[in-house]
Symmetry: C2
Subunit: 349 residues, 2 copies
């Protein structure tokens, strides 16, 4: 009855172009701190979970990159999906593999590309969730206490009263809301952001998969029997998220409110918010020179980036591509990626 | 009694960093058209002057670059200055060498890094100046008919009435003026920009050097006698421009008004003015992608430069340095070069 970690690392990260590329998506970037996002994700829970008790689910193209980033993880625990089918198949595949090794396992599921500043508080919360799960079963989510009316995340509405440990039941999951709804929830002060991090027992998860997603369950049974048929079986699995497929339907779903300095760092603007600024509100990751400029962020993988007499810009520079945008437009990076695709500049993608 | 061309190619071109570098200044850049500025300068007068009748005065560090750019020019005609002593020593050194080969030569002196759009009109004007010089001697300048109140150029005030060929005497040279003076001259409509291009007989020039700049003359006599003493003699030559040292003092100085699409392309903003623009006033030299952006200029030596939701920018990109500036600040590029020098990032200079 051990603890296992499952890291979800399937993202393609187009919002971080040109830092991220098709063959080098966000989870492999060193956006914060000294290590790649995926390595930081693994290191963050190292005191709680043995590195050998880690599974990573990623795109088939990224298996070697995961190996290079996480050399402590047994290569057979790195699962390469022939294509993305959303989170339920990814998590259930890892769960099926863990179940073979350790039928009484408790699983921690983490996205590979989130930032958590308060790592000690985070570990305490994870330990509490795993302990509670081991004692009484159930599905556990981590609900981030919101700092603003964000429309880019799903929300969790807690119900009932907190347990002595601060664990609450989940009344319902709420999809990414329109701004008015987000503002109303922020005002009410009850709702939490759905961080996409989970804890559950591997058997309870597989039972729920069998009950709520029987097609997925059958597919996984086939895959466990004939792993060499991955490229045939996997694309036929139902494309569904763990939230929709399991969490919204399961009976004993709990949430732990979390104040842990969490950010999914979904855009360059989010990354820019975490960089230290000088007196003129300029910030740099990499080598930059600011001459009479204000509120400028430079993120460089190599080139020195110099500014003269400009304001309110976000610049990302690599040796073969430079992106210059208004900070509030960082959701639109995909438009450039799309233009490059249409112009068939595949070497830049 | 042949015609000779002297190209002045000593500039270090810091205003074009990061395209220009200490070892690759502006005259070797392909800013307009298909060839380097220096090659275009030479090609422009090819119908008038035999390539073998060309001297180039440049920095000692740039001799090999000049050879590569101008393979038709005899290597012995490429004069490498151990350091810059302004234009009078450069021109007089070339004149002394030409005088040895062809005492009756007429010299055309051209900066190596100017743009001239109307090449046919330019050649007609040069031919007229050289013809007139051969017939009656004197010093000839080319006075650009101003298009705006520019404070970055010296001016020429013509005197007397034009000759039948349109040649005028020079009443006086005017240093780079303050804006009010430039505006007044523009309004009066008589003054011309001093383009730094000249025609004169080699003997008449050397006589004037002997009369007005006797130290320079003595230095050149010593240099002609002992060319191997270049590194000792050259740094001792007086540092003076041909305008101050000779033109402002000589007796028979003429100007040919020139409407030839001339631009010294002194800044990135000047270069940007000559690029074609799209409907949103964006322009690119190199690969650029514009998403909902206006009045943006991209100049790239390689990286694709992408813009999202920005306005009024000038961007210059190379593989190891990116410069982002407000278009009206392109005179300040040196501030970045200075900052890099102070930080001892010599590999970027």
């Amino acid at each position: 009855m051990a603890r296992w970690l499952v890291i979800l690392a399937g993202g393609r990260g187009e919002r971080f172009w040109p830092l991220s590329r098709m063959m080098h998506p966000k989870q492999f970037l060193t956006l914060m701190g000294e290590h790649s996002m995926i390595r930081s994700t693994r290191d963050r829970v190292r005191p709680l979970i043995d590195p050998e008790h880690t599974f990573v689910v990623t795109g088939a193209d990224y298996v070697n990159k995961v190996k290079a980033n996480l050399p402590d993880v047994p290569p057979s625990h790195i699962l390469g999906e022939p294509l993305g089918r959303n989170t339920a198949p990814s998590i259930a595949w890892a769960a099926a593999r863990i179940q073979q090794l350790d039928p009484l396992a408790t699983m921690l599921v983490l996205p590979s590309d989130h930032m958590i500043q308060q790592e000690h508080a985070f570990r305490q919360l994870v330990a509490k969730a795993m302990q509670t799960c081991e004692n009484q079963g159930g599905f556990y989510t981590f609900g981030i206490v919101p700092t603003h009316a964000e429309t880019g995340y799903g929300y969790i509405e807690p119900g009932g009263l907190p347990s002595p440990e601060g664990v609450r039941t989940v009344r319902r999951f709420i999809e990414k809301p329109p701004l008015e709804v987000a503002e109303a929830m922020m005002l009410a002060g009850q709702h939490l952001w759905n961080s996409g991090m989970f804890v559950f027992g591997v058997n309870e998860l597989m039972e729920s998969v069998a009950r709520y997603l029987p097609d997925l369950f059958r597919g996984l049974v086939a895959l466990m029997a004939e792993p060499e048929q991955l490229d045939v079986i996997f694309p036929e699995l139902p494309q569904v998220s763990i939230d929709h497929g399991i969490m919204e339907r399961a009976e004993r779903v709990f949430v732990l409110p979390a104040e842990i300095g969490w950010d999914d760092v979904g855009t360059f603007a989010a990354l820019a918010r975490h960089l230290p600024r000088n007196d003129e509100q300029n910030a740099a990751k990499g080598h930059a020179i600011f001459v009479e400029s204000q509120n400028v962020t430079a993120i460089s993988e190599g080139p020195v980036v110099s500014f003269i007499g400009v304001q309110d810009l976000l610049v990302v520079a690599t040796r073969d591509a430079v992106l210059i945008l208004s900070p509030e437009r960082s959701q639109d990076v995909r438009k450039v990626v799309q233009a490059l695709k249409e112009a068939q500049h595949d070497h830049l993608l």
